[in-house]
C-alpha cells in the first residue's frame, strides 16, 4: 500500500495546483489586466512611509506610559485597540507587498533575461514574508502586541543562547571547524 503514496501525492498536488489556478482566475477576473508598474513604485514608497507607523504601534513607549499612569480598565482598552491597530497594520503591509510581488510577476513573465535563481530567491523571500506576517497576525490576535513582543523577544533570546551553546560545543569537539562555523554565523548576522 505504501507504494501508492507517491502517486496519490502527485495526484493531490496536481489537483491542488489546478484548483489554485482556477480559484485565482475567478478571484482576479476583474483585475485580470496587468497591474500597472506604477503601482510597484508607489508601493515601494508607501512601504517606506509605513515603517514609522509600525515602530509606533509596536514600540514600548505608549504602553509604558499607559501602564504607569492609568487604571487597569484603560490598560485593557489600550491593549484591545492596539491589537486591532497592529493587525490592520500587518494586513496592510502584507497587501502592499503582495501588490509589489504581483506587479513584479506580471512584468517578469515577459522578460527575456529572466533568471531562475533570482525568481526562486524572490519566491522564497515572499513565502517567508507571508509565513512571518501571518504568524505575527496570529500571535498578535491571540496575545496582543505587548505580550507578542515579549514572547518573541524571549524566543530570540533563547535562540541566541542556543547558538552560543552550540558554538561552545563545537569549539570543544572540533576547534578547527569552529572558526569556520563562527565566521559563517557572524557573516549571516552582519548580512541580516
Amino acid at each position: 500500500m505504501s507504494q501508492l503514496l507517491p502517486y496519490l501525492f502527485l495526484g493531490l498536488l496536481l489537483s491542488a495546483v489546478l484548483a489554485w489556478w482556477v480559484w485565482d482566475a475567478i478571484v482576479h477576473r476583474r483585475a485580470a489586466e496587468v497591474l500597472a508598474p506604477r503601482q510597484h513604485r508607489s508601493s515601494v514608497r508607501s512601504i517606506g512611509l509605513q515603517r514609522d507607523l509600525g515602530e509606533r504601534i509596536f514600540g514600548p513607549e505608549d504602553w509604558d506610559f499607559v501602564s504607569s499612569e492609568t487604571t487597569w480598565e484603560i490598560h485593557r482598552m489600550f491593549q484591545h485597540e492596539r491589537t486591532v491597530l497592529a493587525i490592520a497594520w500587518l494586513r496592510r503591509t502584507r497587501l502592499q507587498v503582495s501588490q509589489v510581488m504581483r506587479a513584479h510577476l506580471a512584468v517578469a513573465q515577459h522578460s527575456e533575461d529572466l533568471k531562475l535563481a533570482t525568481e526562486m530567491r524572490l519566491a522564497m523571500s515572499y513565502l517567508l514574508f507571508l509565513v512571518l506576517c501571518n504568524s505575527l497576525i496570529g500571535w498578535v490576535w491571540l496575545y496582543g502586541p505587548v505580550r507578542t513582543r515579549k514572547i518573541i523577544g524571549q524566543t530570540l533570546q533563547w535562540a541566541a543562547q542556543l547558538r552560543g551553546a552550540f558554538e561552545q560545543l563545537m569549539a570543544r569537539v572540533d576547534p578547527a571547524s569552529c572558526r569556520v562555523v563562527g565566521a559563517n554565523l557572524n557573516h549571516e548576522t552582519v548580512r541580516s
Binding site: 500500500m1 501508492l4 502517486y7 496519490l8 502527485l10 495526484g11 496536481l14 489537483s15 495546483v17 489546478l18 489556478w21 485565482d24 482566475a25 485580470a32 489586466e33 496587468v34 500597472a36 508598474p37 506604477r38 510597484h40 513604485r41 508601493s43 515601494v44 512601504i47 515603517r51 509596536f58 514600540g59 514600548p60 503591509t93 507587498v97 509589489v100 510581488m101 504581483r102 513584479h104 510577476l105 506580471a106 512584468v107 517578469a108 513573465q109 515577459h110 522578460s111 527575456e112 533575461d113 529572466l114 531562475l116 533570482t118 525568481e119 530567491r121 524572490l122 523571500s125 517567508l128 514574508f129 512571518l132 506576517c133 505575527l136 513582543r149 518573541i152 523577544g153 530570540l156 541580516s192
Partner: protein, 253 residues
C-alpha cells in the same frame, strides 16, 4: 449498465465538441487537441465493434489503444505549453528548464532500471505501464499549470478549459491506475469507473470552454524601462527585504 450509460454520454459529448469545432473552425487553432479527441472517439467505436463482433480481441485491443491515447495526450500538453507561454518569454524559459530537467530525470530512471535488471520489461502489468505514462504527463502539467498560476499568465477561456479538463483527467488516471496496479484491485473493475467519470467531467468542461473561439489576451507592457528585468528584480528584492526587516523589527521589540 452504468458503464454503458457513461460510454454513450461520453461519445455523444465528444461528437458534439467535434461538431462545434468544425462550425467555429476551432480545430485550426488547437489541432493536437482535436486530433486527440477524434482519436479517442474512433478508438471507442473500434472497441465497441471488437466487443460486439470479436469479444476475445477486446481486452488486448483495449490496453494497446489505451497506450496510443496516452501517447497522443502528450501532443495536447505540448499544445497547452506552446499556446500558453508563447508571449511569456520569461515564464516559458523557466518552463523549458524544468521540462528538460524532468525529461533528463525520466531518461536517467529508465536507464538505471534497464542496467539494474537486464531482463527488465517496461512494466510488470499493463496498468503499470499506462500509470507511468500518465505520471510523466501529470508532472509536465504540474510544471506548466504551476507557472501559469504563479505568473498569472493570461490564457483564454479555450486553453484554460483544455488544460483544466485534461489535468483533471490525468490526475484521476494517475490515482486510479495506481490502485489498479495493486493485485487486490486489478481484478475489480470499479477503479476504472473513476477514470471514466473523470473523463466525462473533462468532456463537460471542454464542451463549455470550447463552445466558441476566444482568443488569448495579450497584456501590454507600459514602457521599455519596465522590461528591464535587473531593475525590476532589484526593486522587488528591496521591497521584500525591507518588509522582512519590519517583521524582524516587530520580533525584536
Amino acid at each position: 449498465m452504468f458503464n454503458q450509460i457513461l460510454w454513450w454520454i461520453g461519445n455523444a459529448i465528444e461528437a458534439l465538441i467535434l461538431a462545434r469545432s468544425i462550425k467555429g473552425k476551432l480545430y485550426e487553432k488547437y489541432p493536437a487537441f482535436y486530433f486527440y479527441l477524434s482519436t479517442v472517439l474512433l478508438i471507442e467505436l473500434l472497441r465497441f465493434a471488437a466487443y460486439t463482433f470479436q469479444p476475445s480481441l477486446h481486452r488486448l485491443l483495449y490496453w494497446y489503444t489505451e497506450y496510443l491515447v496516452a501517447i497522443i495526450g502528450y501532443g495536447v500538453i505540448l499544445e497547452i505549453y506552446k499556446h500558453a507561454l508563447k508571449s511569456s518569454h520569461g515564464a516559458g524559459r523557466i518552463a523549458r528548464i524544468f521540462l528538460l530537467g524532468l525529461l533528463a530525470t525520466v531518461m536517467l530512471k529508465v536507464t538505471a532500471n534497464a542496467l539494474a535488471n537486464p531482463v527488465w520489461s517496461p512494466a510488470t502489468t499493463l496498468a503499470e505501464l499506462e500509470r507511468d505514462l500518465r505520471v510523466v504527463q501529470a508532472l509536465l502539467l504540474l510544471v506548466i499549470v504551476a507557472l501559469l498560476a504563479y505568473y498569472r499568465v493570461p490564457v483564454g477561456r479555450n486553453l484554460k478549459g483544455i488544460a483544466f479538463g485534461y489535468g483533471l483527467y490525468v490526475c484521476a488516471s494517475v490515482m486510479s491506475l495506481a490502485f489498479g496496479s495493486l493485485p487486490a484491485f486489478a481484478l475489480r473493475p470499479e477503479w476504472r469507473y473513476v477514470q471514466r467519470i473523470a473523463y466525462l467531467a473533462a468532456l463537460f468542461i471542454w464542451g463549455s470552454a470550447l463552445w466558441s473561439y476566444q482568443p488569448i489576451p495579450h497584456p501590454e507592457i507600459e514602457s521599455e524601462i519596465e522590461r528591464n528585468y535587473k531593475i525590476l528584480a532589484g526593486h522587488t528584492r528591496r521591497v521584500l527585504s525591507r518588509a522582512l526587516s519590519f517583521l524582524k523589527m516587530g520580533g525584536e521589540l
